[in-house]
């Protein structure tokens, strides 16, 4: 069976979002996914570092051309989609810290960041980046009180490929619903 999404996988890159942005500018198709086993320069909002060692799920998706209002909605919906998967698949109670962080027992387990490149009134490129702490064994001292991984809570390995496929399928569904409602 043909895979639903084109996934470009890297062992170790500075940032999946930077790579996805570069590919989007070179006309790579929407819904292409850049996936990394680890990031050396993963970042969140305002360039804040995102701890990205091996074990976590780090990916960025090139989004189809959409209005800025729809992109704001998809950022929030991404957090909702991921929370729902965590709740349904692992029987946990995640909390969405609006608009884009997901917490488990008050500690951050996932962050979502959308980045746009805008010229005049046109959005040239939109990328949504996700960092989900799936199989991280332990966090450094400065993060261990504020971050947590699914493995630490569930005491088992998570299948990153399976959870990635679910997130992508649901994100695509949600964006299609938003676009239909705006037509």
């Amino acid at each position: 069976m043909e895979p639903k999404f084109k996934i470009i996988e890297f062992e170790d890159i500075p940032s999946t979002s930077e790579k996805a942005k570069e590919l989007a500018i070179q006309n790579e198709s929407p819904w292409t996914v850049v996936l990394a086993r680890q990031q050396s320069n993963g970042h969140g909002r305002k360039g804040e570092a995102w701890f990205s060692p091996e074990g976590g799920l780090y990916f960025s998706v090139i989004l189809p051309k959409s209005s800025i209002a729809d992109l704001q909605t998809i950022t929030i919906l991404a957090a909702f989609v991921i929370s729902k998967i965590i709740k349904d698949d692992f029987n946990l109670e995640p909390l969405i810290k609006l608009p884009n962080d997901i917490l488990l027992d008050g500690k951050k387990v996932c962050g979502v960041l959308t980045e746009n490149v805008i010229m005049g009134d046109k959005t040239l490129v939109s990328i949504i980046g996700v960092g989900l702490d799936t199989n991280i064994k332990e966090f450094p001292n400065d993060l261990k009180d504020i971050s947590v991984s699914l493995r630490q809570v569930l005491f088992k390995e998570i299948d990153n490929n399976e959870i990635l496929e679910k997130i992508l399928s649901e994100l695509k569904n949600q964006l299609e619903i938003i676009n239909q409602n705006n037509q």
Binding site: R45, K46, Q72, T75, T114, E115, M119, D121
Partner: protein
């Protein structure tokens, strides 16, 4: 962010703007401002939904904010020469980072904003000549 919310059959037009330390919520033209602790108050009634950017004539030498947010990075300096598609600044809004590129070439005449400054949709940010 613009939303339509239906409550008991009545539809409300709602916009939410994240402006650094405050969040401005506009419900059918009535504006409410909330601080970081969630304390809110009505600020202005019937401010309407007409945005300056939508009524002003397009001028690619005047760079305006495409949405409300906070200036997180300025990538140019006054008097510098700008090429088409050069990055001018980054505007952070509702957890989205937005790189604003130049639509036209020119010389930076004036930068009207500073890093960390909150701006609203349609505000003039940079003037080129």
């Amino acid at each position: 962010m613009n939303l339509k919310i239906k409550i008991k059959g009545r539809e409300y037009n709602v916009s939410v703007e994240d402006l650094a330390d405050t969040v401005v919520v506009n419900i059918d033209g009535n504006e409410y401002v909330f601080d970081a602790n969630g304390n809110g108050k009505a600020q202005k009634e019937n401010s309407g939904f007409v945005k300056p950017a939508s009524i002003a004539p397009k001028n690619s030498k005047q760079i305006k904010a495409p949405l409300s947010g906070v200036i997180s990075e300025i990538s140019i300096e006054p008097n510098s020469l700008i090429k088409v598609a050069q990055k001018l600044l980054t505007l952070s809004a509702m957890k989205m980072e937005n790189e604003i590129l130049a639509e036209t070439q020119g010389k930076v005449k004036e930068i009207l904003v500073k890093k960390g400054q909150a701006v609203r949709e349609g505000d003039l940010l940079i003037i080129l000549e």
